[in-house]
Symmetry: C2
């Protein structure tokens, strides 16, 4: 028995983000998808994840399904709660990046200020904002979850695009026009961005 | 251009925890370290992480350093805030596990109920509670961060072990006596547990 352990501060070994990126053999970044409800953020994030998976890349998609009922289960949809929701998602994505994982976040995240808070959590260049651009009419016509109908009926008071504003990114790293590009084209556009940024090898 | 994309719901590809475990070539679990301040939770978690890293295992340590100022930066030390702190850490660890990463959490987490909430977030067997057992006197004598001195001086009202109770786990998966075992021995004990549980191959 090593008696030294009783009175000394144990050796503090620290495995860093850099070490984890080496283990996973790729850089980790945040891919922050933003856009109206129904613009295809979640579909694009998941399709991209599938593509990256087959390249041996470690990824994780954060979206309403795994965050709103768990980590952010205590939050509603007031302005303050929306800000806090995005703040936590940013912090969560940051930890994923430190774990050497590419974090894909798929939330409307309508406000510039909130997205900027998330951007500033990680070193410059590690936050790639991808604007899933799609006209409101198209999103409303798709109405995948029946949310627009409810919003128009006044059942969801601050629904983005109806009762609350969406602030488009001013300088996103990428714009994907989801009403004009196929899913495959959109995935390829993000892959190209990841190549340009050195996340994937060219 | 694939015009179908405009009017159809995009294909929802879902990469699962199972897929990610295959990619990383190991199971993912939560290793929940609990014990008094100064019992060596963080040191053990980091030393274990270093060991696992060299075995090619994807890990991430959640501790005060990367959680208290970030994700839980809005929380104080009231009873309600402590409960919320542990709840969020549990949710965070769960997401890490879903990302195929072994999550090591190093928080005092003094209350049974809170630890049970975290345990129930993941399938049975995926939450391994490791009790870093160490007499209060020894922790207080170590007083690595000078916290016990402050607590005794009344500057930290609800410090665990002084002004607030620590509830030892009733059935932890492992007990490590950090005042009697060396760090190396403690690491080996956890490795042995991971072998028994099939997280690492025997």
């Amino acid at each position: 028995m090593d008696k030294k352990s009783t009175n000394t501060v144990w050796h503090q070994a620290i495995i860093t983000r850099d070490d984890r990126e080496k283990l996973h053999q790729h850089k980790s970044v945040i891919l922050w998808f933003t856009g109206l409800s129904g613009a295809g953020k979640s579909s694009l994030a998941h399709a991209l994840e599938e593509h990256l998976y087959h390249l041996g890349i470690s990824t994780f998609v954060l979206d309403g399904d795994n965050v709103r009922h768990g980590l952010c289960g205590d939050l509603g949809f007031s302005d303050a709660d929306r800000v806090e929701n995005i703040r936590r998602i940013g912090e969560l994505a940051k930890l994923m990046v430190e774990a050497g994982v590419i974090a894909l976040t798929a939330f409307i995240s309508p406000f510039q200020t909130d997205r900027l808070v998330a951007r500033k959590l990680v070193p410059e260049g590690d936050f790639l904002e991808i604007y899933c651009r799609c006209p409101l009419e198209v999103c409303e016509q798709r109405d995948v979850k029946g949310m627009y109908k409810k919003a128009r009926a006044g059942q969801i008071p601050f629904f983005t695009g109806i009762g609350s504003a969406y602030e488009p990114p001013e300088q996103p790293e990428l714009i994907v026009d989801t009403d004009q590009q196929s899913l495959t084209e959109s995935v390829q556009a993000v892959i190209e961005l990841l190549r340009q940024r050195g996340v994937l090898s060219a």
